[in-house]
Amino acid sequence: MKTNYTISSIYHIAKADFLERVRSYYFLIALGLCIFMIYSFVPPIGAGYRIIFLGNYRGFYNSAWIGGMVAMCIPFFALVNFYVVNYSVKRDIETGVGQIIATTRISGLQYLTGKFISNFTVLLLITFLIAIMTIIMFYIRGETSHLEPGKLLLPLFIFLVPGMFIISALALFFDSITNMNKGLANIIYFFLWIIMISSIMFSHPIDIFGINAGMNELKQSISELCSDWSGGYGVGIGVGNPHAVYKVFTWEGMNFTVPLILSRVLWMGAAFGLVLLASLRFNRFDTSRIKISESVNSWISKMNPVIPNDYSTSSKIRYSDLPVAKAEFNYFSLVAAELRLILKGNATLWMLITSVLFIVSIFTSLDFAHKIALPLLWFFQVLILSKLGSREVNNRCQEYIFSVALPLRRQLSATMVAAVLLMITLAVPVTVRVFLTGNLYGVYAIATGALFIPAFAIASGILTGGSKLFEVIFTIIVYGILNSVPLFDFIGAIKGSRELGIAHYLMVITFVFVIIAFLARKRQTRNVL
């Protein structure tokens, strides 16, 4: 009887969560991103970039190579798909469903297992789509029409499925820390992910996704078959010379040894250990503990405990005695109010990191300040910026805020101006230093970036009603900059981006985002609910 209840409750938790997710816009966005990624990760021969580096060689586009290439891109899928499944427990807190669940007989472990199964099922569905897309890519990019399904799809099964399992567990682990702000969890995961990526470069023995094992296989094959291999290998987005000629190496696929498969199983076991660990410290939606931790995030709330109703005083004022406010619209006052709204209530950690990076951008070498400190400084505003477009809806203020006069011209534009002012203020040290070197393109590019990021954040927030889309894409863009990818250079610091005219394109894209934001908000203000 108890077993039936356990299985049934886990099944229904998983089913409800799964349905909720696959019916959300984010799921569609994630699918779209995955399709785009696979399309990009199997680049056409002669494209200006490579995903798998093999020195002076490139792989012959057969089943084994295309399957291996997609499988080796698991870290990139790990980045995007974490954000697809990372908000499950916290959603139950926000909707109040958690408190209903907490009053049932279901245990913390059963609840989290249900959530974990849902996470994994969602990611398996995405993996299935990746597999289909890989077959399609074989026919689009393949240099042979001889499809070998085993060689094409087995690497996906051996690498992607355990990888998705690990991501499901990691996401749930972060999610179950109900005291942690969900945006902060996203940032922490991003840095954890960078560490994981870095471990590939240094062939670190901690091989969570099995990439080192896979790349070692590849390295061994090429060194045996190609005596003139120049050495050097890796996975990542690398821009090269489109006209460069590489020698072709025909790979017959990976040798899936027992140790390799066993290591995948062990990592899956370790990942499930995270679920068990999460269940031990899961607080069953104890609102008192959640509230306390929320206030810890905000320095202003920390100083003010929850206030009970106060009957000690009774008002003697009558409405008719109140002075009438003078109708006098002042745009600067509104921008100042918007700035206050943007800056208030942010975590102490945010203030600290922003201050440190701001100082770093003044006192470090210009190259470091421009290429590293400024992107990171702006990146640390991601949680502030990502809320801007959806703030009214998420705080349930939209009905009375959208019913004020001229909501687009006044409120929306003031939000944009305030966000741009924040970005510009943070970039002042680097901008002045770049200007003093006479690099006017750099100044123009930074200004473009300061306009582009808020416009993108607000437009995506209004369109999606949430913050995730901007958070994920902005994270990827910043990762691109930190890896010197000119295509992502919104600050004019990467060699080659000026020649590509990235800042000009960004200016046009910014303009498009502003138009989208205004049109979408206009529609929103006339169709609440």
Partner: protein, 299 residues
């Protein structure tokens, strides 16, 4: 000021109507909207507040079409939605200053008015605390304060007394009656007593239509000699309430003291009954019961 609502319909997906051929004429004063859940009260209020658009029909303020020219309403509007939130990290003063700024009110006069409103709404002692730390009733009062910042000529208040404790409800009712002059106040509530004491007019809404739009006195007349009381045993009560509209019941001496309303077509039960004075709630129940039976509530 006058608002005219003509043949207004709001159609949702699946051919469901929030409002259907809704008609209403309003002049200065307080209109109370009452009706069951899903009757269309909030839909009407959202359309009047210009944040939702009708599928058909016309709504005008002083003869100007508010669907085409929403800013006509927005300039004079104070709107309190049924379910709303606040920015939790702002203090009451900061939040109200923000709302004032987007409504186009700045300067010293606004600061003084905000202080006064907080005083009147009994929030002055917590004005510098973040709203996120407030109780539910206090947040509701912040919502009421944001409505009144610009001394609006048109107030739309959707369930304004939800979350207020009895003392605050009384205070709020007194405040509304204090709102005098050239303005229209439209408020909805499930609590009939919140409306009957302050509204000049009451509109009973059901299934997207107005069933009645009358003064409280006129509504009371519809239940004259239609309300009775009787005492029943527990067994009698079970069968009685399937035949009559019971507006109130309370346990008394091992049985039930039952208050009931006669609907059109009902005859008095063959038991001892005493006539009772009708209330707006009796009138409301009688009109809704009649509409549910598909008939007219008029005798």
């Amino acid at each position: 000021m006058e608002i005219s609502v003509k043949e207004l319909s709001k159609k949702y997906k699946g051919n469901k109507f929030g409002l259907k051929n809704f008609n209403l004429e309003l002049n200065n004063g307080i209109l109370g909207l009452i009706g069951p859940n899903g009757a269309g009260k909030s839909t009407l209020m959202r359309i009047l507040a210009t944040i939702s658009q009708p599928s058909e029909g016309h709504v005008s303020l002083n003869g100007i079409d508010i669907v085409k020219f929403p800013d006509t309403v927005r300039k004079v509007l104070g709107y309190l939605p049924q379910d709303f939130g606040v920015y939790p990290n702002l203090t009451a003063i900061e939040f109200l200053q923000y709302i004032a700024a987007i409504k186009g009110f700045t300067g010293r006069s606004v600061r003084i008015r905000i202080e006064g409103l907080l005083e009147e709404l009994n929030l002055i002692s917590v004005r510098n605390s973040p709203i996120g730390t407030y109780s539910g009733g206090m947040k509701q009062r912040i919502g009421i304060a944001q409505v009144l910042i610009g001394d609006p000529r048109l107030l739309i208040l959707d369930e304004p007394t939800v979350g207020l404790d009895p003392e605050e409800r009384v205070r709020f009712r007194n405040m509304l009656t204090d709102l005098s002059g050239e303005r229209i106040v439209i408020l909805s509530s499930h609590i009939v007593s919140d409306i009957e004491t302050i509204a000049n007019d009451i509109a009973i809404v059901y299934q997207g239509r107005v069933l009645e739009h009358q003064s409280p006195d006129a509504l009371l007349k519809t239940v004259e000699k239609q309300v009775y009381e009787t005492t029943l045993t527990i067994d009698e009560f079970d069968s009685f309430r399937t035949k009559y509209t019971v507006s109130n019941s309370m346990r008394k001496n091992g049985g039930w003291l039952v208050r009931f309303v006669l609907n059109s077509g009902d005859s008095l039960p063959d038991i001892q009954v005493q006539p009772s004075k009708g209330t707006i709630e009796d009138a409301y129940l009688r009109i809704i019961a009649s509409a549910k039976n598909g008939g007219s509530h008029e005798d």
